[in-house]
Symmetry: C2
Subunit: 393 residues, 2 copies
Amino acid sequence: MRCGIGIEARQVNELYINIDPIQAGGRLTADAMKAVIAYGDGYSVCDNCRKPNRLDYISKPPIAGFHRDVAAWLNMDAVRTVPGARRGFQAVTNTYVSKGDPVLLTSLSHYTEFLAVEETGGIVREIPHDSAHKITADATATKIEEVMREFGRVPVLAFIDHVDYQYGNMHDVKAIAKVAHHYDIPILYNGAYTVGILPVDGGDFGVDFIVGSGHKSMAAPAPSGVLAATKERAGEVFRTTTIKGDVTNRTFGIKEPEMMGCTLMGATLVGMMASFPQVKERVKHFDRELENNRRVLEALLSVTGTKILSEYPRNHTLTRVDTLASFDTIAESHKKRGFYLSAALEEKGIVGIIPGATKVWKFNTYGTTPQQAAFLADAFVAVAMDNGLPHNA
Amino acid sequence: MRCGIGIEARQVNELYINIDPIQAGGRLTADAMKAVIAYGDGYSVCDNCRKPNRLDYISKPPIAGFHRDVAAWLNMDAVRTVPGARRGFQAVTNTYVSKGDPVLLTSLSHYTEFLAVEETGGIVREIPHDSAHKITADATATKIEEVMREFGRVPVLAFIDHVDYQYGNMHDVKAIAKVAHHYDIPILYNGAYTVGILPVDGGDFGVDFIVGSGHKSMAAPAPSGVLAATKERAGEVFRTTTIKGDVTNRTFGIKEPEMMGCTLMGATLVGMMASFPQVKERVKHFDRELENNRRVLEALLSVTGTKILSEYPRNHTLTRVDTLASFDTIAESHKKRGFYLSAALEEKGIVGIIPGATKVWKFNTYGTTPQQAAFLADAFVAVAMDNGLPHNA
């Protein structure tokens, strides 16, 4: 089946169990699928845009209400939608970071945070993780002191990924935020792997900003996301335009420069809105997701030599494993080389592991049913058995 | 029908002739509708992302080929997709404009160009339009000389909207670009109303950048767009990352800071790609669109007192009219006040004019069939007759 010249209709999530590390939380709900069709046309949400002409004021479809709901849900004061979490980072760095300013990231920070700093001419300094691949409040304080010695001042901004993309480890944001605020450093909570996945309470964490990803974790089409702020910070990052035409004397009302005016004018936004009721519900049941994840990990651990590189027991379903001493031992002599593992899984209806990966790899069981989790567990063991790997399953 | 709690399914383009000024070129093709469903899930285009891991290198779906095709179609050297034309502006201003730098816009520039400059701390200077609401090469040269006197240097960048959003007038980009280049000023062609609507040849215009809007003019979902550059400028605006982690020594390959890495990872991009073959074809037949537009305008002009504020005959279907001396004369005494016009049109199945507007308003006939254009023409005359307005239809 095709959906345009040379474009095959994608059926990955219809035909397979997909354990791709970044795709698990972005699968659309049925309501979102209806929404992307109903609001597929370009400026489709603008039919009822009236003064003051800004996206977050539109009440039909209920965009204004969605903004209020998301702010309340995150326990923050103000929310805007953005074309991807990275555009939320960009809005914040562009507000606070000037050329030469130190910015605190971590040794597990996502590359888009680096790019958001690079664009402003800021200088990144990484808080190192500890031996368990965790970012701690102590390490944060130490790094801030180092920055003070190096730059003669504190970092202008700190990013902390609540759950990082490398290990899926959960870091102590609340303690880290406390340290940052002790030094008067505003802190951005990167919730790309948490907002829409598990409960997030910005007030409890004590953070200045929360960024979430629609296409990564809120069952929304790409590119989409949210940027939430406290009341104090909202006045800074969501400040309104002050520029004026020298000939026409035009000004531009309440448009916000960091948002570049309106952001998501159609399918992306309404897709995110349509999924939101189910997203709000699903975060309450993250324990079930961890249970499914545990089941799969136990099966993997039953294959002798497999190591879980992520913290264990898990606090998130994104998991990094080391199969150098298990599945990788087959790769060299197998006629498919390292591709035997992903090929064998695909034959069983499982996709999402990088083809060829048998050494260190990531997967994400988020959104699987208990039956699918059992199937995944059995599949890994079966591939091990088929290839004569020792196991105690 | 609903597509989620509180979200009504939009059927504007199914049930009505929609002459909304900004929506006409963004209606999805049938192929794009299939694409947004097939690629609705979050990171749906990333299934086959392999090294060097960048969106524009993915060959399945054929994203790499699409980038090459769009560059060739615009007669430019390099293209990237962006989340809306405004994000293309932002990438260019962030590359060339520093605090205090003068930037050339025009008195007809779109607000998003102002915001893109505001974000960088640049200072806008508008080239005034002439009495016919056109931006000329002469006015451009005069303004550049003024800027030189004021700032002691030339503007660092110039924006020119080939067709402006206020009058839908077509400006002499080629001559203006020549003037800009005489002063060594890079020039950005804003094609939000042209790329995907009529033929655009960047090489012939002699511009450094072309920005197009997917959701405004390329039959694509929002937010989407393209940023094209010449070879020389591509190396600047699409430069790759150089930032490095101080602890991990991480670098980030060929990611591009101005793009924030990858841009449109799903429905938006594949929607734009799916529509592209039809978009390429439709730009060849813009004469038919002008003919439909002419038919409607002649009908409006047959209502005594109506003025066309846009250049006439028209070079674009986006048109600004003045009905102060015709339709507006009824508004004061009509029981629906100014709303009678949009209400009467809606009753006939026509939407897209701002409700209540009877003085100066805009509409866009792009994409109507000859039959629909005839229907529109008859409808305007019928509303005039029903309200006893003098006419010579």
